[in-house]
């Protein structure tokens, strides 16, 4: 690949990179716009409680909120660490 090709290809990717980043960000911001404001705090406190009993990391828990015409759903997802099976 010549030097010229290198600059060409890096240029081609800059607009598509921008688009990709925007799509992810905008989707995230749209979904978090309608979320109740207590959500981050709830997530933090839940994590503290769970950590008392199970050794999980920061990202082991996710709380999501969904809303349609007739109901609101609060979804709580906890990923427990894999069981460490003893070697025979």
């Amino acid at each position: 690949m010549s030097l010229l090709d290198y600059f060409k290809s890096s240029k081609v990717s800059s607009a598509s990179l921008a688009k990709e980043r925007l799509q992810i960000l905008v989707a995230h911001e749209r979904s978090s716009l309608n979320q109740p404001s207590y959500l981050p705090q709830l997530q933090k406190e839940l994590l503290e409680v769970i950590q008392k009993y199970v050794n999980v990391g920061q990202d082991a828990i996710s709380v999501s909120f969904e809303q349609d015409e007739n109901q609101e759903t609060l979804e709580l997802n906890i990923t427990l660490p894999e069981l460490i099976t003893k070697k025979p």
Binding site: S13, A18, K19, V26
Partner: protein
Amino acid sequence: MARIIVVTSGKGGVGKTTTSAAIAMGLAKKGHKTAVIDFDVGLRNLDLIMGCERRVVYDFVNVINGEATLNQALIRDKNCNLLYILPASQTRDKDALSQEGVGRILDELKKDFKYIVCDSPAGIEKGAHLAMYFADDAFVVTNPEVSSVRDSDRMLGILASKSYRAEQNLEPIKEYLLLTRYSPERVKLGEMLSVEDVQDILSLHLLGVIPESKSVLNASNSGTPVILDEVSDAGQAYGDIVARYLGENRPHRFIDDKKGFFRKFFGSKQ
């Protein structure tokens, strides 16, 4: 029925004031009595772009406070007698505009004008909120650039939830995309987001694309809205936009790199 158009974006410096001046002039030139209001309290600029800065006596805040009548404050445009400008106040008091006051003045204007164009300040603070609150239509001015697109999306969320129409459960504000400062050459090189890219993300009805153009600076230097420069690309782009808004069917222009063809054959002189 009168219609209130807000020209908004979230981000600053994308071309709201340029657009407000151009479309207000375009609507008036098409025979519709139009008022254009500068909502940028403390940073009055529309008067300069319209070329009436030396004729400002009273402003928007004076009218709200009853220190002047609407007729005293409205400045008739020098190029078109169906166009009037209501300048912003230069006060540093951020609370000079009130929702009640703005609503009262807009109601009064609606009796006499067909279109009322509100030039929004940047940001999502009080001034920007009041500029869009009573709107029927929103012209979302966006540059093909990440931060501008993101801010436009934020603004769409606000238009859909924090406006009078939203609060009263009326038909929502009609939103239109105006993509400005577009460079087809740079899009072709993959350096700039394309019209399709921006539409994919914002899913808005495209009213028009305004190219990056030297004519915009020339127009602001002389205080005449760029739409009056009928030979310029930006002037024609704004002309198309006004016509489309009024229901005319005009094909989109200024999206493709036309010069590219000639350059390929004759080479660039630069």
